[in-house]
Amino acid sequence: MHRRNRGTAMTRNVLGLFRDPDSALAAAGRLKGAGFERPELMSPIPIHGVEEVLGPKKSVIKRFTLVGGLLGAISGFTLAAWTAVLYVHPTGGRPIITLPPFLIITYEMTILFGILATVLGFLISARFPAIRERIYVPETAVDRFAVVVACSSDDLLQRAESILHEAGAEEVRRITEGDS
């Protein structure tokens, strides 16, 4: 993870490690209160109540799902009906465009596209996969809770550090995020 911090200095961040989610969340709240731009939390488990402290988040995923579903419905029926007309195979005395079976196809395609779109939505909205280096401390994958805040100037850095210390961070680091 040292590799991660190589590179020319651009923005500097302060990172505070906490042992428990609540104090981490509290620290984040204070930073926000102190006018820092929205701090970022990193945790091994989803932290509840983030919205209350740092303000609500909006996700575009549901739109993706909806659009994908509709798209699937249309393309599903089109696939069945259009191919049936493309090369007419009369079977079993049924009409060429037979609704009940084609609706089943439609249904399956709706769900398929819905799923794929959801995944797409997730990747896009969560900015995955990560191409560029990002701030990361492996402890957060185990049992530590981190608060990261970007600072534009040295005094802001100090202020952030002090706030984190007060909030009971067991460790505070300065991380220089660089281009990789």
């Binding site: 993870m1 042992r19 428990d20 989610p21 609540d22 104090s23 970022e40 939390l41 990193m42 945790s43 091994p44 488990i45 989803p46 932290i47 983030v50 740092l54 988040k57 996700s59 995923i61 549901k62 799902t65 696939l79 069945a80 191919t83 049936a84 493309l86 090369y87 079977t91 079993g92 049924r94 037979t98 079976p101 084609f102 089943i104 196809i105 399956e108 395609m109 769900i111 398929l112 819905g114 799923i115 794929l116 959801t118 995944v119 939505g121 997730f122 990747l123 909205s125 969560a126 995955f128 996969p129 990560a130 990002r134 701030i135 990361y136 492996p138 957060t140 994958a141 185990v142 049992d143």
Partner: protein
């Protein structure tokens, strides 16, 4: 339950899971070796033999043109309904106890689907042309016949495979990240890729939560539709004994039933041989037991309905069918099925039984044997007794068929064994969620 888990700390969870991935005992290799060998000799060799000489290697005959292959297909599809479906339901109902087991359950889904698809390949007469059943533009200008229930199958199963694959993967991203930092060598690179650079920021968690929930919502109706459609392969025919409206629910219930039993089996194995005693506990067996009981009752009910339909119809075709089922050539199998799937599960009424591991294991296996029999009977009894008595003929599986059945089990086991070494077979972060997170004034345990 909680007391047990509280001893473990967050770090231990990571340790245990990573150990389950990187530390590999001799037994594992032996198991894998055996499974692989059986797969090769009992599945692939007979299959190639059959490919070379023709389906004649199997025991099917003129009226009974479907046999154990199709039965196995339904069986595996059914087994696949354990995992993802169950996992989704439990996820949406936020049941805590799901979290320790859903990963392996979903894996079951995925692999049994895989095996089911190979069974189709084994079943059809000219598998080298199976791609003709896939909708793709081709120089012949020919497209598959979307009116066919078999095409519903193709679409549904493909969707289901994709869906459950994505579902299991997405749920595992944070865990990939967790193991990524602890592994080295090829594993590290693999997990770096798989984890997509997951950091666990509040934003990522938020998005993951949403996406995961949506998937769950989408997959539940999908799973239900998949097995309904499998049932329509039969119910849309006019074969007496198959041409029944009850079939869709019948199959779905049966599927979840055998699937749940399958989970119990897998749970037992994981718990025993991957040292997950802390995470897979009596609680899980208890709950699964309750679920099994419910399902067995449902299943029995539907079976009784089926018998009733046959008796009530009064038509010779249906009535003969019923008589044949209860007293005919295959009757012993039928009663064996009733014993395993309707009678034995009544033991689950006692909590003591539910929470004792070995009996649960035995029962779960018995149930799945019974369920396989059910699928076999659905094919064999009905097809050998159709409209024209003059063409009635019984069908007995050939050695090749039986060996391929055994082989398919081995194939499943092999795949699963490989899986547990690549996938964190229990969900790290959700286990942690079930443990109470450290409090501000909580005791400071040393690192």
């Amino acid at each position: 339950m909680q007391t047990e888990v509280r001893q473990a700390r967050f770090a231990d969870v990571n340790d245990d899971v990573v150990r389950s991935l990187v530390v590999t005992g001799r037994n594992y290799y032996i198991a894998l070796g055996i499974a692989g060998f059986v797969t090769l000799t009992c599945f692939f060799f007979p299959w190639f033999y059959q490919l070379y000489y023709g389906i004649g290697a199997a025991g099917m005959n003129s009226p009974t043109v479907w046999g154990t292959y199709l039965a196995s297909f339904i069986f595996w599809i059914g087994l696949s309904h354990s995992g993802t479906l169950l996992s989704c339901v439990l996820h949406l109902t936020n049941s805590e106890w799901r979290k320790a087991m859903y990963r392996s359950a979903e894996a079951m889904t995925f692999f049994s689907l895989f095996v089911a698809i190979t069974m189709v390949m084994v079943h059809i007469g000219r598998p080298w042309f199976i791609h003709w059943a896939a909708p793709y533009p081709n120089q012949m200008g020919l497209w598959p016949n979307f009116r066919s229930p078999l095409m519903f199958d193709v679409m549904a199963i493909m969707t289901y495979l994709t869906g459950s694959g994505i579902f299991i993967y997405m749920g595992a991203i944070p865990d990939f990240a967790a193991v990524r930092d602890r592994t080295t060598g090829w594993r590290h690179h693999l997990y770096v890729l798989l984890s997509l650079g997951w950091r666990g920021t509040d934003k990522e968690w938020h998005r993951l939560g949403w996406a995961y929930t949506f998937l769950a919502v989408l997959i539940i109706p999908l799973a239900v539709s998949v097995h309904s459609i499998v049932s329509w392969d039969f119910a849309l025919s006019i074969v007496p004994g198959l041409h029944q409206t009850i079939f869709a629910p019948y199959f779905v219930v049966g599927a979840i039933y055998s699937g749940t039993a399958g989970i119990v089996t897998v749970m037992f194995v994981l718990r025993k041989y991957m040292n997950f005693e802390h995470y897979i506990t009596k609680l899980h067996f208890d709950n699964l037991g309750k679920l099994l009981l419910l399902l067995s009752l449902l299943w029995t009910y539907i079976n009784m309905l089926e018998l009733f339909t046959g008796w009530f119809s009064g038509t010779s075709t249906e009535y003969e069918q019923l008589k044949y089922k209860l007293t005919g050539f295959y009757a012993p199998l039928y009663w064996e099925m009733i014993l395993f799937c309707a009678v034995a599960p009544l033991l689950l009424i006692s909590r003591k039984f539910r929470t004792s591991f070995v009996p649960m294991l035995i029962l779960s296996i018995a149930i799945n044997i019974g369920m396989y029999t059910e699928r076999f009977l659905i094919v064999a009894t009905t097809l050998s007794r159709q409209y024209l008595p003059g063409s009635w003929r019984v069908y007995v599986p050939s050695l090749v068929e039986i060996s391929i059945l055994v082989g398919s089990l081995a194939l499943f086991v092999t795949l699963f064994l490989l899986f547990v070494k690549i996938f964190p077979s229990i969900s790290i972060y959700e286990i942690k969620e079930t443990m109470d997170a450290p409090k501000k004034q909580g005791d400071r345990h040393d690192t």
